[in-house]
């Protein structure tokens, strides 16, 4: 499979159809992979794909990372189904044009949740929970796909796959608060969760704002709580569930639980799934006259 991808990438680079192919290469450790920017046809053999390819590469297509400054007219990108959903969402939010990317889709069988858990194979003990019940293992929107692309039914609703969400919802309010309070205690506000997110596309993040400073920049509880609430709120209906925020967190706080819960809410109330349509607007900037209002007096 990877040979077909490499050949296609080589051809694209040789024909000058793309300026660069973003993909995965072997990392500095045997358990790790790393994002790689292949510019020359002879370098395509560095490209690999297996269950260690965790990173969500569309983050490099986000304008905030200023890769457009490099003058890339068209970028080839290797994408797992979930990453391609992120690309779709970026296009829907006008952060990218479809004709600026060439998507090399890969058939995915799931990835490990953390590099540390890689032991040579993918199994139930190390498969990221986002990969259970995934309906884009055969990706949706691709320019190239190795082999036949079978039809897949993607009409099902979004389902939360992390058991932790249900476990938390089963708790009393206070226990849930205590869980987050203890976890957030470790947060030192490095904003890795923000930087690694393909959808955090503001030029100036609200937390870096000083006029006014809605979110105290210091990592005390006040600052940390308001940061994580705000981050989750800003991703309502936009998160495509790559789970990178949790993986990138150097203090191992499971911040994507918020996103997963919010996706469930959005699904239940507005029947919306992000990253499947180039046109559909996310639910917080649309409305229906008969939306839920049972909480309103």
């Amino acid at each position: 499979m990877i040979e077909q991808i490499r050949n296609q990438a080589r051809q694209l680079l040789e024909n000058g159809e793309v300026d660069v192919v973003i993909g995965y290469a072997e990392g500095s450790d045997p358990t790790r992979t790393t994002p790689v920017f292949v510019r020359k046809p002879e370098d395509v053999d560095r490209l690999i794909y297996d269950a260690r390819c965790i990173n969500s590469l569309p983050l490099y297509l986000n304008k905030r990372h200023e890769y457009t400054k490099k003058g890339w007219k068209k970028t080839g990108i290797i994408g797992k189904g979930c990453d391609i959903r992120a690309i779709t969402q970026l296009i829907a939010e006008n952060q990218l044009r479809r004709d600026e990317v060439y998507i090399l889709g890969v058939p995915c069988e799931g990835v490990v949740s953390h590099f540390e858990k890689w032991d040579g194979s993918l199994h139930d003990g190390n498969r990221a929970s986002k990969c259970t019940d995934c309906d884009v293992m055969i990706p949706l929107d691709t320019d190239f796909f190795p082999g036949e692309k079978p039809e897949v039914d993607r009409s099902g609703p979004y389902k939360v796959t992390s058991p932790k969400v249900a476990n938390l919802m089963g708790m009393e309010n206070d226990q849930r608060f205590a869980f987050w309070r203890d976890d957030f205690d470790r947060c030192f506000k490095c904003y890795a969760c923000r930087e690694v997110c393909p959808h955090c596309s503001c030029n100036v993040c609200i937390t870096d704002e000083t006029t006014p400073s809605w979110i105290d920049p210091a990592a005390h509880k006040k600052g940390v709580f308001s940061w994580h609430l705000t981050r989750a709120m800003h991703l309502v209906g936009r998160c495509t569930g790559c789970g990178e925020c949790t993986r990138a967190c150097p203090m191992d706080i499971q911040v994507d639980l918020f996103n997963q819960r919010m996706k469930e809410i959005v699904q239940e109330n507005y029947g919306y799934k992000s990253g499947y349509s180039l046109e559909e607007k996310h639910p917080l900037i649309t409305y229906k006259v008969d939306d839920r209002e049972d909480f309103i007096k």
């Binding site: 990392g27 500095s28 450790d29 045997p30 358990t31 790790r32 992979t33 790393t34 994002p35 790689v36 990173n55 983050l59 490099y60 990372h65 200023e66 400054k69 949740s113 953390h114 590099f115 540390e116 858990k117 139930d124 003990g125 190390n126 498969r127 990221a128 929970s129 986002k130 796959t161 992390s162 058991p163 932790k164 476990n167 470790r186 030192f188 506000k189 490095c190 904003y191 890795a192 923000r194 930087e195 690694v196 100036v204 870096d208 000083t210 400073s213 105290d216 920049p217 210091a218 990592a219 005390h220 600052g223 789970g243 990178e244 949790t246 990138a248 150097p250 203090m251 191992d252 499971q254």
Partner: protein, 359 residues
Amino acid sequence: MRTATIQKSDLGKAIDLLVQADLRVIAPRLQPRLEEDGPDAIDVLTLVEVKSGENHQVGEGLLPLNGVKEFLFAKHEPLFAYEKRGKKIDIIPVHHEYPRTVIVGVRPCDAASIASLNAVFSDANAGFEDPFFTRRRERTTIVTYSCTAPDASCFCTSVDLAPDSSRGSDLHFTEIGGDLIHVEVLTEAGEAIANLLESLLEGEGDQQQREKAGAAVKEKLTRIRDAAPIKDWLDNLDNFDDEMWERLGEKCIGCGSCTFLCPTCHCFDIVDENKGSKGYRVKFWDSCQFDHFTLHASGHNPRDWQYKRYRNRFNCKFKIYPEKFEQQGCVGCGRCIRGCPVNLDITEYMAEVAAKAAG
């Protein structure tokens, strides 16, 4: 100073003794993730305050996620409070508490980092003393515990340290086989702690055995780079615009994990936290990896691309630090390698520079 031995099974009792002596005891503790929380959850080892010896992981695991940094150079601290009334502004000094603290089970790399922080915050040569840091440092004793199982990301030997080095330690523990731990008292503060633990300490430690144990662990390190030529290569300003910086650094996403995890990174920012017309001036950690770190008011940003920010980090560790503080900037703990979401590896830079320096 003196040496002794202690049984590994007595470490809990040792912590109890320290707690009973009204010390704030910080030790590594594992927060195991539950099976029912699914595969995404992982175990979390952190340095936290412990109230008894029952639940600690001194000497177990490798490195806690957080280093000792946050116990000396707080994640955030108020410098003073202020209150504006009428046309007047009252500055109200803050009352920090500086409890006597002992941090047990610090790994040698973390302990070595304290010397580096010290050079920034309290070295008399710097002409400035951070009162908060100095007072905390004065009241904190570091009990180091030599590593037994370095992982693939460890590279302390490449920066003149070793899994058993005792730089920055007050008291140093090294496992020397069986259940026995070799204890070295290195400073007076260490002696004070050793005295508190007197009932658990036995005889004299075998220095030879300790060194043998240390050397054996050193063998296990796989990530070995030559740091010697780096400083000179960096000193050559032509290399400031070397193609290597962009090639290696273009995947960097500027998340700042490396700087926040780094035990020697020490940049901070100061803001006023307002509540109406009163508030606090607060100091908190910052990172050179953020795009607005060097953003000028004019809108110009000298480090306008991410790779330049990582270049700064590398320069800071291997050029600026040694130059300015005559201290090692990097202690080889490998946290930045483990924590990086895109596998940006500082040792790749080191290898590349060494290769370039060699021609």
